[in-house]
Subunit: 426 residues, 2 copies
């Protein structure tokens, strides 16, 4: 008899038919003796449609209004799911972020949860009711609705799981767990049974889309066990939890890749103290999320500075660089939009020398040209040209012994499931 938070994404509640499937799953959980608490995203493309309406009226909609507007999407899906459960003869009640006790700071569109006061949810569960909570939203001290940013519903689910002391936070999506690499790219990728928080956080922030890194961060901080699993099957997925010291860790957990960044290079900047600070303060002031930074060896007092950032930030990044090019004494700058970042992730890396060497050898053997390198204690990332990205994933996956014996497509997925995966992204 477990207390279970079950989060369903937009695809899982995209239509009345799918909402009924989710309702059935929750009822089955209840019939099995568990206590489910649902968290839902907005239906399918609702959020995009609302953004479209806002853009028709304003180039720069006030963040407070935008948050309230977007929050209606989850409020629609939560009421519909509650209705579906009631129509099947079980008790359900919907709760907004406010009603579920999700309090945040005032940073509209990317609010951080400051307090979870889930007494009303606990009370509903005690009364035999299945609570259905709107993901992605909370309220600030003025009771104004705030939203938690991209993937915020995962964060809501983890926060609620913490707030009610749930045994597990199940995140249902259209993939059946966390893989050692994206199976669309690496057919021999394996589903992982368990991943520790640190590895999951690096995988998520390096492009593995299955779980949002903020949710993983929250789970790590408060020790919430996440179960990432498929909305379309009953097969167990991947548990994300504290590393078990008893268990031997693989050196490398998985290979992530990310094609959503671009590379910007400032050529022949002056190589003197303060130049990098000037460049990257200016970028930060203009809300450019800089990821990797590389400064080449100086020649004749001149140097090249490269950085990567999300493609969505490129406009702001270019504007910033144009504005300071002269001030840093640089000649010109260039942009490379055709790049892929490939990351080797594993907590075991810390205690195992030679990972870097093995990675570079594997890439060299396959004639993959490395453009940039960055590392953390448990991650090694390389930027390569976009057309070599998938080859890089596959050869690193093989080099670190992650390949399963059979090819993924044949073993794990029906043709239909694979098509669904290909169209929806990991």
């Amino acid at each position: 008899m477990a207390l279970i938070v079950a989060k369903f994404g937009g695809t899982s509640v995209a239509s009345p038919e799918r909402i009924k499937m989710v309702a059935l799953r929750l009822i089955r959980m209840k019939q099995a003796g568990d206590h489910p608490v649902a968290v839902v995203s907005a239906m399918g493309k609702t959020t995009d449609e609302l953004v479209g309406l806002a853009k028709a009226l304003s180039n720069n909609p006030p963040a407070r209004e935008m948050d309230r507007l977007l929050s209606t999407g989850e409020q629609v899906s939560m009421t519909l799911l509650a209705m579906a459960i009631e129509a099947m003869g079980h008790r359900a009640m919907s709760f907004t972020g406010r009603q579920a006790g999700i309090f945040t700071d005032t940073e509209h569109s990317k609010a951080k949860i400051t307090l979870v006061h889930a007494g009303r949810i606990t009370g509903a569960v005690a009364d035999g009711i299945i609570p259905v909570i709107a993901g992605f939203q909370g309220v600030d001290k003025d009771e104004d609705v705030t939203t938690l940013g991209r993937g915020g519903s995962d964060t809501t689910a983890v926060a609620v799981a913490y707030g009610i002391g749930a045994d597990v936070c199940e995140i249902y999506s259209d993939v059946d767990g966390v893989y050692s690499a994206d199976p669309r790219v690496a057919p021999r990728a394996r589903k992982l049974d368990v991943v520790n928080y640190d590895d999951m956080l690096e995988l998520s922030s390096s492009g593995a889309g299955v779980l949002q890194s903020r949710a993983v961060e929250f789970a790590r901080k408060y020790g919430v066990v996440i179960h990432s699993r498929s909305a379309f099957s009953d097969a167990p997925g991947t548990l994300v939890k504290e590393a078990d010291p008893e268990m031997e860790q693989a050196v490398i957990t998985g290979i992530a890749h990310d094609t959503s960044e671009v590379k910007v290079t400032i050529r022949d900047a002056q190589d003197r103290p303060g130049i990098a600070a000037r460049v990257f303060s200016a970028l930060a002031n203009n809300n450019v999320n800089v990821d990797m930074i590389i400064q080449n060896i100086s020649e004749d007092g001149r140097t090249d500075i490269s950085f990567t950032c999300p493609a969505a930030d490129l406009g702001r990044a270019s504007g910033t660089i144009e504005g300071i090019l002269e001030k840093v004494g640089a000649r010109e700058y260039s942009v490379d939009e055709n790049i892929a970042k490939v990351s080797v992730v594993g907590t075991g890396m810390k205690s195992t020398p030679g990972v870097t060497g093995r990675a570079f050898s594997a890439l060299a053997d396959n004639n993959v040209n490395i453009l940039l390198i960055s590392t953390s204690p448990i991650r090694l990332s390389v930027v390569v040209s976009a057309d070599q990205g998938e080859l890089a994933v596959r050869c690193l996956h093989t080099a670190f012994g992650l390949d399963s014996e059979s090819i993924f497509e044949e073993k794990m997925l029906s043709a239909e499931e694979l098509a669904a995966k290909k169209s929806k992204g990991r």
Copy 2:
């Protein structure tokens, strides 16, 4: 410099283009030195679409969930209008019913306002902000969203006007005021400059759709002046306010008609005490809204009982009558769906004898056959067959001297406006 509540219905905010027009109107008010406070309905067909989604999931959706679901419609339009105003360089903020301080009882789908605590709205106005309030909704003591029933946004507007002490509550719609009759039916109908609360209440509850009777009731109770006017022009509309004792009242203010009711007749029921009570208690218990009741003169201890009710209640009415037919000793019942109720309304009726006679003569002169009659101190209603309804409106309009000198269509409306009226209803 007036404090003005301005309510815009679903048609006025049906698209981004129309929302911009509303934004411009509010800004013009502000530039003229007034303080506008907007109240909005949901965009166009939004409410119908949400109802459709709910029906796809449940035949009998829980009222609490339904209210929350429907309340999102107004929350979308309020944020979009606030964004539009801000995009035009003026300050605006949206407020839900809760945030505007609209507290209600717990009667979901037809909640009554119990308290208006509009301090946040007053504060916004003082800060130079144009508040935009979601109509149709409040919260109950559990902070669960409630809705105010059909036309509830008018009631919100009047309640807010009362709460902030506004000088006037402007209700914008696609008609330019209250008319002495529906101009589609009576081409010589005149727009009324002023109507007192009592007359307006009788007109609204007798089929004149321009203002919701609950809003008029609220306005009468708290002395809020309503200005019913067109969203598409700047021409003054109709003021609804306390009767001015100094001013001479016309005997008759207007003719209303209503084709949304049906007539049910129970034949040959026993004519003994308690029979009528039995019939109408049973109907009330089944939520049938009975309007007019007529019991014919008894013959041989037997009588016919007729009543009218909204066509929407007919299924429940028939079921009720079938269940008690034998108990009241009746032979059979019949239903007439082709009826029209035509009402002559005027406070002046109280002090002027002969209204009934003049009405019946006018109808007789035009060969209109009266099926049922009911009266109040300031209203005389007749039910006639549907095909004689419009004729009845016209001849009563003439008989009571309400005709204007020129024909309405030629004088007041462009062809386009008339087409809009015909397609949208009064």
